[in-house]
Symmetry: D2
Subunit: 251 residues, 4 copies
Amino acid sequence: MTDVEPIRVGVLGARGRMGLEVCKAVDAAPDLELVAMVDQGDWLFNAADAGAQVLVDFTTPDVVMDNLHWAVDQGISVVVGTSGFTEQRLDRVRSWLSHKPGVGVLIAPNFGIGAVLMMQFAAKAARYFESVEIIEQHHPRKLDAPSGTATHTARLIAGARAEAGCGPMPDATEDEVAGARGAEIDGVRIHSVRAAGLVAHQEVLFGTQGETLTIRHDSLDRASFMPGVLLAVRSIESRPGLTIGLDSLLS
Amino acid sequence: MTDVEPIRVGVLGARGRMGLEVCKAVDAAPDLELVAMVDQGDWLFNAADAGAQVLVDFTTPDVVMDNLHWAVDQGISVVVGTSGFTEQRLDRVRSWLSHKPGVGVLIAPNFGIGAVLMMQFAAKAARYFESVEIIEQHHPRKLDAPSGTATHTARLIAGARAEAGCGPMPDATEDEVAGARGAEIDGVRIHSVRAAGLVAHQEVLFGTQGETLTIRHDSLDRASFMPGVLLAVRSIESRPGLTIGLDSLLS
Amino acid sequence: MTDVEPIRVGVLGARGRMGLEVCKAVDAAPDLELVAMVDQGDWLFNAADAGAQVLVDFTTPDVVMDNLHWAVDQGISVVVGTSGFTEQRLDRVRSWLSHKPGVGVLIAPNFGIGAVLMMQFAAKAARYFESVEIIEQHHPRKLDAPSGTATHTARLIAGARAEAGCGPMPDATEDEVAGARGAEIDGVRIHSVRAAGLVAHQEVLFGTQGETLTIRHDSLDRASFMPGVLLAVRSIESRPGLTIGLDSLLS
Amino acid sequence: MTDVEPIRVGVLGARGRMGLEVCKAVDAAPDLELVAMVDQGDWLFNAADAGAQVLVDFTTPDVVMDNLHWAVDQGISVVVGTSGFTEQRLDRVRSWLSHKPGVGVLIAPNFGIGAVLMMQFAAKAARYFESVEIIEQHHPRKLDAPSGTATHTARLIAGARAEAGCGPMPDATEDEVAGARGAEIDGVRIHSVRAAGLVAHQEVLFGTQGETLTIRHDSLDRASFMPGVLLAVRSIESRPGLTIGLDSLLS
């Protein structure tokens, strides 16, 4: 590493579960400096006074728009992990940014680099294999099956296959006990395993004559989101305008 | 190895697909001697004349009973891979054997040692884990889902859990796309993956707080049955009477 | 479940890291009752006064022998996870127990049921396969390679193969970059993977012509030891004398 | 699919092991037409007379250069799986092609799409994870360890990490039985497993705090090369000049 000045970072929602992890991660990174920790009841202006170049926002849907408006106005770029962004909200952010050509805002539903890469690789491999199925495995307290990530992956794969003109996958099943072949999302089969001892895992299995390619992601705790947050913090100043998702940073 | 006399082995159905493999495997084993290859149109007596101590029968349901009757009568032990044994047929074999206390007959639906061990281990582990699910993966030309082996494994596991007084497995799923959680056999979930490039694979996943135990079997070709056939050939003379399945030889 | 009286359990070392987990686990089990939590500075007699039938000892090598002597004397069975037991210490425990025929003591270096089952299954499968290798995967802060569990598993496998008269495994490697084929323990190859994001994982891979059998254990946190502790607590009163390891309870 | 004219394909080395597979694969593809099968003793001109637009060459190093010279001269594009291409030979091919701007030649050491994608994905993921190790698993008749593919993958990963400024991977190992931590290729650890029942498998394991990403390729027979050959056949006419490897076709 060289003696480049560290990036000065402020964290909004700094006392929340994710905010605390972000503060720790920023603090531990030699090329970043934690200059402001702001939460309910604190002044946003503290962040500006402390010279923050980038803010990370893990707050709540009811305050995030005000935070963004203020930050863009101040010329500060923002990395946002808060949820609740409708198309309408995104349009408002775009309009604020249109007056501030140097400022960047990145809004991501998922900062897990591994999960994002898994989806990118799956989308890319999709057209080259006859068959593909998804097996996702989670702890038994999960309410939905399949997981949101699995459903999203299936849609990406189905889209890539359609675009490449792939036909339906081979499947001679005639005699099925209900559910054995999994759920079908856009023609892609998903199998949802639920067992004690599991956390959050997903496997995408591609197969063609004589070979299989498997892409597997295992996530063990929420610390796994921090590398994605830091990647965004380091990239945002060179990406003016609105960026949705981590995807375009990983290419 | 010592200079023990090799066991003299005859093969019935010697020109069939499995019979040929058995001939090759016996021939390649230094402690076994292939003394007779019998098929349709050949005399069974050849096997006796050649001094066969053990016969291996991979013929058809319509001739296997005659073969067995004759062999037991001659005092020759038999390892049988032919299918079609009803409870009634087994009773007749038992009655023939009751007059020949030194003769053994082993009838097995599956000579894959790996598959049999997988099922034994799964049955044994069943009572110690909160959760267990089965993922079986096969080529896409397979007609049934789940596979017979998966269904059989689920029943063994369910039986072992019931015996140990295990309660139902934890599962908070409320919102399921039909089929995502797989088929249910005696309370055990089975997921059937079908993809080009696969052959025959099964994974049994056990989980309890903080740990998982996975038992996986991959079968790539029918040569995988030969070690089980040879194990039976080597064991049968010391196991008089009727033995069903390879299970009791693996303990 | 029936209305059998719960087993009354006392915990020694109750404020330690493992002791606390044991207290929580006992408390959560409907068939067990936590009647005493004892730590440094507390009276052992409290445990007896509270009517404890079984004690769990996660203390330190310097006090565990006194605890055991007292408990055996009181006729209370003990499950011990404390380390430091030499052959000499075990002999003293045996001699105390010889005067108390109804009392049981179980001393185990590892209460992970999954790990113990993995080793049992590996030892059993060993004789039926031409090849076997171990791949163990741990976090990068681990100091030793291979892990103690992998070394122990290799020895069990080597012993089982020797007993069954198995020859050396096939391996045509002529041109090896140093280390590629792993470490050799009693003729069994072990590969030690170290990577961020891993916790503690081990895979035992068995192979013979046309098939492989894989036994894999994944351990994610120390809660994974609790089912083994509770199993020991529930079994110890029916196992008078000294028991070493969880092994004989899992059969 | 539309009623586009099929591509007319000739196969050189058509009676060799790979050539035969190519003939079968071309014949089975509705958008390709097998117009010439040429082997030792046949006239190359047959291929031109039959109107071949693309040739596939799986011959031998001693004839492949003559084949290529002739084909380029005739204005026919060629997909080459024959080995033995030195830098000098490649230069000669380039010079021939410089006079025929519409003709393409693709020379690939490996037509396995799965293997090529695995390497691409590994190279791309490399910079985002603290740790990465490679586990390759092959049949025990293999002479070298690690495999060529594993070594090549390690070099790609090391290059990508160096370019991104990644530091060394974390590894606290102090006490190692020789070989446990595998072979080191450009700082990347490779573990080579050899066991009966395996064919050709490779796993690349990436890890960072709280998550791992695994890319695994399983190859079961040489039919697995055909999709790559067909992809090259379909693409080569739109890629004039010399192309090395399948890589640029998969993007």
